[in-house]
Symmetry: C2
Subunit: 375 residues, 2 copies
Amino acid sequence: MAGFSFTVTATQDRARTGVIATPRGQIRTPAFMPVGTAGTVKAMLPESVRATGADILLGNTYHLMLRPGADRIARLGGLHRFMHWDRPILTDSGGFQVMSLSDLRKLTEEGVTFASHIDGSRHVLSPETSMEIQRLLGSDIVMAFDECPALPATEERQAEAMRLSMRWAQRSRDAFGDRPGHALFGIMQGGVIRHLREESAEALRAIGFDGYAIGGLAVGEGQAAMFGVLDYATDLLPADRPRYLMGVGKPDDIVGAVQRGVDMMDCVLPSRSGRTGQAWTRRGPVAVKNARHADDPRPLDESCTCPACTGYSRAYLHHVFRAGEMISGMLLTWHNLHYYQQIMQGMRDAIAAGTLDDWVADFHAVRAQGDIAPL
Amino acid sequence: MAGFSFTVTATQDRARTGVIATPRGQIRTPAFMPVGTAGTVKAMLPESVRATGADILLGNTYHLMLRPGADRIARLGGLHRFMHWDRPILTDSGGFQVMSLSDLRKLTEEGVTFASHIDGSRHVLSPETSMEIQRLLGSDIVMAFDECPALPATEERQAEAMRLSMRWAQRSRDAFGDRPGHALFGIMQGGVIRHLREESAEALRAIGFDGYAIGGLAVGEGQAAMFGVLDYATDLLPADRPRYLMGVGKPDDIVGAVQRGVDMMDCVLPSRSGRTGQAWTRRGPVAVKNARHADDPRPLDESCTCPACTGYSRAYLHHVFRAGEMISGMLLTWHNLHYYQQIMQGMRDAIAAGTLDDWVADFHAVRAQGDIAPL
């Protein structure tokens, strides 16, 4: 793990704050990673993503291998140069998305053979090809190749998928080799079944990774079930390594996950919501398309310092959404990513100050008030 | 014209450079005005539009009166505050677009009755209502209400439309009244028929305006015919007032118009092209979707200082266009608007230095080389 380190600087109960140091810069934890699926955080320039406070982006191996292709990105100098983002990038393994997006999948012990959803071309993803693709992309944090079964799934199916993922985790570790400055994270599976989670954690610890992800959550089980797993799952993972909860979530999911010892998260929600006219604010979600905003001169959130809130009224945001203007997605995505980073900064500061309980109580109290009333 | 003035600071042959001073800031001429149809220059934040060098934007009365409505914009503090642009705004009169975009038009001496293309609601545009709507928007430069006949049109039809426009110009002048710091521009019509242009110019001069537009060009007559009109038309207008060529154009149209004494222009081309994958560079147009760019690590234009050219390869621009990502339109629009403003700055400097002939010769020589060859 030369050139890559994780330091916990403060804890409060199970919550932690710290810093992941990489050759491409520091990642303050708990960290929220905006998703840049196809080489862009949709509707944002990378300097704007950075301005929201993001230290690291996520890229999707499945999308990038199909278009523009990992070899091409490597020839062009890697994903950082390609997308004009010189800070850390984490890439997923493609395992989750090949099962949810591709056509004509065939799953074997070796890996997954599938047809591209873009042009039907045939590809193989396996622990070895996933490691190679993520190496070509130049990813700073590489994810082991895993299988996340679709829900609902029987305990037998969950166990089978988890054990296959653990064999693939070992193959990922072997294929990754020793790459100074680059980290490999293993992914715990096992659904909401505690003994499977325990078995998975034990297998991953035996292999040894630079960080540990919790996969297979936020796939429809609901917040209570997810928190139920996090109540014990983070403690199954080494305390001196980052813990990454994949694909989470709404603001209150994020807060609850950090309280349960999670250090990193990613989700398309703030950017996807921004393109569909939904803002996330400290008072909860706001649908700018609603007619109640048409004449409202007030900003989305008078305390927010993002460009959408400092420059524009709700009436404007309503108008440009209704008119189908690109600035609607641009401003709301910026706002949402800014708000998410404000949550992370707020929790980092509160954990360091030992005031996380107060911060969380305030977070829920403001949300409970709901959005401001129409004028 | 208190608070609004035009000063010519240098001329070379028929070309002029100077400054239009308004209470909201100076407009350096010759000026290119990006089009912000519905309260946004599509795919751009207003601070980015300003960063390209734009001193003034154009807003479309027709679109804004229908959605979100001029009364609503007035209640919200005017168009400048609404769209977060505090520099000058010119609004068109709605006359051109009501004929090209609306349904169920009825044209009378009084004005135009029409149905909205958005929701079918019925509206009336006349010299008086157009002046009122532009006042409600808070426009700095207001355009007289005119009729621009569709081509092809007989000389009789052209004459009829021009004479109606001149009667409407008088009514616009009367309805506009005296509004210190705000300017009213008349619009010359007459198609490509010289004696009609002369008659129109005489009528406008008799009424008296703060500036004079040349309408009815760039509607399909071709560059040669357009230049043929400009060869005499600018000299028909007062030398001490700005001359505005409406709806022009491609880079070489703009250069030829400035050589013929035009001070202001507007066009959707740079922004529309940006959203459809076409870049304009000093070497001519570049279609980023073409496969020749897929592996090209070079920028669109290595001499350009815009974000698209300083941050991204042609390969990236090709990829994000093919993938349908919003950043494609964002970067190409920024590049195109930047390039257009570079043309304007280049001509302003050259006219001031007395070197416009050399500048124009170089402009055409570089374009004649064509785009760089594929690697």
